[in-house]
Symmetry: C2
Subunit: 412 residues, 2 copies
């Protein structure tokens, strides 16, 4: 495979027009959209308008006139189209940590009296998910069991809740949401799915999977900007069964009645708590719009096809270069998310820094992982080819031995 072949792939890419929605520095190849998505160009003008017109001129009136009140719903409805949910089933609100707390709390409440004792998750799930699982388990008298290996086999009649991140943040392994949910349901367990690394990265169908609780992150593949609000969906068969614990006024059925009794709103609205962060939500809406722009081009199915083509190409080029790296991402594309991770026993961190110095931004994950995320909307085949050439150079020229690349920052 040579550069000409690569150029042909880009010319034939049905999604190539999507890149023009983003502003990315020309000297950068950005392979970290799984940590923070790149900037949709529309955000700047959108925020200028929200600030200067809606806030500056509209002032308090914009809660009505600009309908800030239902901005979490409007953004939620757009996210719904990416994950197989319906209108009025998704709310964009709070952080992933907070939404996870709500979902696990309600799931545990619904399992009270069932005699079930286990909150099951994966040992290398994202730490927040494990911390909050431990918190809820302690509160409800459950025990967290962390599986390594076969998850389906670990689901038993004792399982109260199965909590999984659909795509593992380190290896990029994709779990089968439909099959695992069915196995969990067969044992009477409820499922909580964290879509942090799958929403916007690949097709998700929460209804087809018959999931129970689903939540995810706004700032990764949804391109919502730093700390963008999270989203949450609850299966309609469960959403009205009980209130979530963060009973702020905007989850009330009639917030402006100012009554002292909490009466939860019907549907996903009850998962609101306090006032929504309008600027961060408005930016998230621009990010989600960059994915909806793919609908006439084949939508999430087309994004998935390109995602797999990009990760396949990346792995193939690295294989061909025979680099001293170990791939920990599945070769089987049916169980792969939209990232590729390698380990290096001693210099993973410095290799990532040396790549960043060359303009190829991936990230490091402790203790030894080089992680590369691929966002089809703004990543070209040529980007993949170039990034591998840089990686080869970093390793062959031993650039990672430069002491400047060994000092650790907070986020890498």
């Amino acid at each position: 495979m040579n550069l000409h072949d690569i150029q042909q792939l880009d010319l034939a890419d049905p999604l190539r027009s999507l890149r023009s929605q983003f502003t990315i520095p020309p000297e950068v190849i950005y392979l970290d959209g799984n940590s923070l998505g790149a900037m949709p160009t529309a955000v700047s003008a959108t925020l200028k308008d929200v600030v200067e017109q809606e806030w500056g001129v509209g002032l308090i009136r914009s809660w009505n006139t600009a309908d800030w009140m239902r901005l979490p719903n409007r953004v939620g409805n757009k996210i719904a189209r990416l994950i197989g949910a319906k209108d009025n089933e998704v709310m964009a609100v709070d952080s992933t940590s907070v939404n996870l707390y709500k979902a696990l709390n309600v799931a545990a409440t619904l399992q009270k009296g069932s005699g079930k004792t286990v909150l099951l998750t994966e040992r290398d799930n994202f730490p927040t998910d494990i911390y909050i699982a431990e918190q809820i388990a302690q509160q409800f008298g459950l025990r967290v069991e962390m599986v390594e290996g076969d998850i389906a086999a670990a689901i038993t009649g004792d399982t109260a809740i199965l909590l999984l991140t659909q795509v593992n943040y380190r290896t990029g392994t994709l779990h089968d949401m439909t099959a695992l949910t069915a196995t969990a349901h067969a044992q009477g367990a409820l499922t909580v799915w964290d879509l942090a690394h799958s929403a916007g990265a690949l097709p998700v169908d929460v209804h087809a999977a018959n999931a129970d609780f689903v939540l995810g992150c706004g700032y990764k593949y949804l391109n919502g900007g730093p700390g963008a609000p999270s989203f949450i969906w609850v299966n309609p068969r469960l959403v009205n069964t009980c209130a979530q614990p963060l009973v702020g006024w905007l989850g009330h059925t009639a917030p402006f009645a100012f009554t002292t009794d909490y009466v939860p709103a019907q549907g996903i609205q009850r998962y609101m708590a306090g006032s929504p962060t309008i600027f961060s939500l408005a930016a998230l809406q621009c990010g989600v719009d960059t994915l909806l722009a793919a609908e006439p081009l084949g939508g999430m199915q087309a994004i998935r096809r390109k995602s797999l083509a990009l990760t396949n190409l990346f792995m193939r080029l690295i294989d061909e270069a025979k680099l001293p790296l170990t791939c920990i991402t599945p070769r089987d594309e049916s169980i792969r998310g939209s990232q590729v991770s390698y380990t290096h026993p001693t210099h993973a961190y410095a290799m990532v820094q040396a790549l960043i110095a060359r303009g190829v931004i991936g990230d490091f994950r402790a203790p030894d992982i080089l992680r590369f995320g691929f966002t089809p909307a703004y990543t070209s085949y040529h980007d993949v080819w170039q990034s591998v050439q840089h990686l080869i150079a970093v390793i062959e020229k031993e650039e990672y031995l430069n002491p400047a690349f060994m000092t650790k920052n907070a986020i890498t």
Copy 2:
């Protein structure tokens, strides 16, 4: 008192220069800063820079290079200067509802085994505060007692937690935080203070009051914009005693170690949960800066003097006009916040709408309250005088009988 006297008050106002920090439509007199503060002009350029440079160019690197990681701390340190807290004691994060849940949960945890049974609050506290109090009470086997009248007298040996909003959102009555905290402590109770209507409106000294937990709102007197993040302070003698329940990764002592055991950070850092909403935080910082700009002009003491002068003038002019309104805000300025509320038995809502049509923006609170907030940094004595002339006209010309003013919106 005539227009000339009013003009003299504005000329002699030591804070008159602060108004130039805001962009407010010239046709508007804005008396709703207690619901949503007006727009600091700096927000627009700040967000443009955060979006286009920090996100667009810096991408993931800005968590380090723009120190997004510690933006909640930096904004918190600025808020600290307004409420008598010290550096590294305040975090700007999440919503008021979420922070209230954290504070009440920890307070209830600390009171476990004390035999105390009551979570004491005020009957007309803001509904979210009551809803979350009920939630925590249920979780910890406490009983919510809602006082009407003398709060100090209701504090007994059974009181586990005293939860109060320092300034009542309807009447504007100011509670004595120092005295009530001392009374609570004498009975072994912990105090949780919601500063939604006092932070940025009047001097607060959390250390002098020896409060236990304090939190507040970013979008009212702090001018942080719609849905701005909240803030939280916990007394240093309590902050490290236990973890708050929303154990997201950014409250961990070493979030990037990605360990499966939650070890809370020391100090207020442990009150972080998920990733901070950077755009909304950056706007909040601009809002807080408008108050810190008063420091060389006398700071919160000067703001308090002007606040009382404004509310005194407003009440006096309405008294002189003998309008058919009942004042429910204390005449005694030592127990008054920075708002004035009136009731009208039948037309309060329509009167507020008629005023808004004239450019005087106050708000309505169910069932019968006309509420007017006074933000000294951008409200002039002339604004007060004019707004009263408009109110007189609305009532004398019976403009409130116009059917267009009777249709209710979501937020008024």
